[in-house]
């Protein structure tokens, strides 16, 4: 089955002329036709354009022309990444009909690498959420158990990748939005170092935290996609120049284990997770120690404050970023608006969903006169303390290992009435964004109800090459990543 191949395997077969991109693309659309009514991963599909593009790549190969690193590979992208074709909705009614005038940097990179874009995936509205239930447009279900959430906010990308409705996908991660859904759906997800990938054309949520990254079935595929999207771009002044942090070859040394690996563990953190999660993470650590790795117990005294700091900083940035939805330049305008104030206030009240409004309110409150120092400035100081915890950790260890989430995928509707409970689901992922460091989620087992468990590995800024090698050491010893959902 072509849809069971990894992106790397498929790419090699297409480039080698064994199969065509058109055949692969058709196979994925057959899979989508069968499963999409149940899963609901996609907000839009580009069937004709994808097949046409696949044909172009096949002709290039037939002519013997060189092709890119993702030659003919069918991929999906999260619908907060701008494409100059189709809509870019962000899962929001306010942008439901928005047609971006340009491609995001990562979309240009995918196209330049000869990938075929199948469609755009569902997300929590403006990437605000941990279950994809905050999408204003559609519900997405977890392919491992359709009564459960796929995680979020990149739930569509993770569900599509796990259900083999794409070979690989891109997501974005502001507080765990790639790693947590990857963990819930049993696939691999990487949040690169802040600044590794250009955010140009990523619809902004929390600009100092947002980062685009791959969602794939294997660590090798994540390395392949990261290679394609990483690097400086002058249109994002926070994408880091080559001279400061060169982009290495992520695939060349992937299979070389890290000698004398020191793994940082924080016992009190792991103790907060469900028993099945703790057991799976402990078993994963044993797979490493059996390969000669050494565990180093660390203290991260400020880690527990990450959620509090995050919900001030991210919402403050969101309240500013989302001020652009004014009912004037693009997006929804309320037909009821009588004057210019109502053009803003009615359009925004009708166009945004509850969670987006809640975060705009919280951020506006934290930035408002009289509260700025108490909340916003305080949170930025705590952010510095949290980053200090990570900096000290990476002086003593090559990486940190911890769960991705305290639980496996929760039931649809279980946390929708209690925003704070939903926020607490991100306890292990949020600190990584505040510190700007890279983190990867890899499958490390299943709980008693057969729901996947994710292992999170975190490393120092711009050490993705090592991080991927560490993740690969586990993947080579286990076959969790090969367990397909039964659909």
């Amino acid at each position: 089955m072509m849809d069971s191949l990894t992106a790397r395997e498929l790419r090699d077969r297409i480039a080698g002329g064994e199969v065509t991109s058109a055949e692969a693309t058709e196979a994925y659309f057959r899979r989508i036709d069968k499963l999409e009514p149940t899963i609901g991963a996609y907000l839009s599909l580009f069937r004709e354009a994808a097949l046409e593009r696949a044909g172009q790549i096949d002709r290039k190969i037939a002519r013997g022309e060189p092709v890119g690193a993702l030659a003919g590979v069918p991929v999906a992208i999260k619908d907060n990444l701008c494409t100059a074709f189709g809509a870019t909705t962000c899962g929001s009614k306010i942008l439901e009909h928005f047609q971006a005038p340009y491609h995001a940097h990562v979309v240009e990179k995918l196209l330049a690498a000869d990938a075929v874009i199948l469609g755009k995936t569902n997300l929590d509205e403006f990437a605000m959420g941990s279950s994809t239930e905050n999408s204003g447009l559609q519900q997405t279900r977890n392919p491992r158990d359709v009564g459960r959430v796929p995680g979020g906010s990149s739930g569509g990308s993770a569900a599509a990748t796990a259900a083999r409705m794409c070979a690989a996908a891109l997501g974005s991660d502001t507080g765990g939005s790639i790693r947590q859904p990857a963990g819930f759906c049993g696939v691999v997800g990487l949040k690169p170092t802040y600044g590794r990938v250009s955010r140009y054309g990523l619809v902004a949520y929390g600009s100092s935290l947002d980062q685009i990254g791959p969602v794939t079935r294997t660590v090798e595929d994540t390395a392949l996609l990261l290679q394609v999207i990483a690097g400086a771009d002058e249109r994002d002044s926070t994408s880091v120049p080559e001279k400061m942090a060169p982009v290495p070859d992520y695939t060349a040394s992937l299979d070389r284990p890290v000698e004398g690996l020191r793994i940082g563990v924080v016992p009190h953190l792991n103790a907060g997770a469900d028993a099945a999660v703790q057991q799976a993470v402990d078993a994963a650590l044993a797979v490493y120690t059996a390969q000669g790795a050494r565990l180093v117990e660390l203290e991260m005294p400020h880690f527990d404050y990450a959620i509090s700091a995050y919900y001030v900083i991210a919402t403050a940035e969101a309240s500013s970023n989302l001020a652009r939805y004014d009912g004037v330049h693009y997006g929804y305008r309320s037909p009821e608006a009588q004057d210019y104030v109502e053009v803003y206030s009615k359009s925004r009240d009708e166009g945004f969903g509850a969670e987006v409004k809640r975060r705009i309110m919280l951020g506006t409150y934290a930035l408002s006169s009289g509260y700025y120092d108490a909340y916003y400035l305080k949170a930025l100081k705590v952010r510095n303390l949290i980053r200090g915890d990570f900096t000290r950790a990476f002086e003593q260890a090559d990486c940190l290992m911890l769960p991705v989430s305290p639980t496996t995928a929760f039931r649809m509707g279980e946390k929708t009435d209690d925003p704070l409970q939903m926020y607490l689901a991100d306890v292990y992922t949020i600190g990584v964004n505040l510190a700007g460091v890279p983190g990867i989620s890899i499958p490390c087992g299943f709980d008693e109800t057969n729901l996947p468990i994710g292992l999170q590995i975190v490393s120092a800024p711009f050490t993705e090459e090592t991080l991927l090698r560490i993740a690969r050491m586990y993947e080579k010893q286990t076959d969790w990543h090969r367990k397909e959902p039964t659909l």
Binding site: Y194, G195, Y330, A337, L362, T364, Y371, R387, P419
Partner: protein
């Protein structure tokens, strides 16, 4: 620091954020935001005396490029998503009363 965010504060913040909330939203947000803010106040357990605020994690500050004219969106493209437009402009309801304009 005030813990509870009452309904009048919710209305004030909603006005700052240009959100015309319904009464049910106001009461719901009052309860939910109070709970979230109470959780956030956990930050006060930490002594941050002398700690520098960290707005973002990169050792990058100002990034400059040459001040030269480059291609940008044309008028038609810029207006393509506008809810209302007229004569090459974004159209909005009248802002000034008749006779009060310059």
């Amino acid at each position: 620091m005030a813990g509870r965010i009452d309904e009048s504060q919710v209305r004030r913040v909603a006005q700052l954020a240009r959100l015309e909330l319904g009464d049910d939203e106001v009461s719901q947000f009052s309860a939910q935001l109070s709970g979230i803010v109470a959780y956030i106040e956990k930050l006060n357990e930490l002594d941050t005396e002398g700690v520098e605020p960290l707005a973002h994690c990169l050792p990058v500050h100002n990034v400059f490029r040459a001040d030269s004219v480059r291609p940008s969106l044309g008028v038609a493209q810029a207006l393509a998503n506008a809810p209302e437009q007229a004569e090459g402009h974004f159209k909005v309801p009248k802002i000034l009363e008749d006779g009060s304009g310059a």
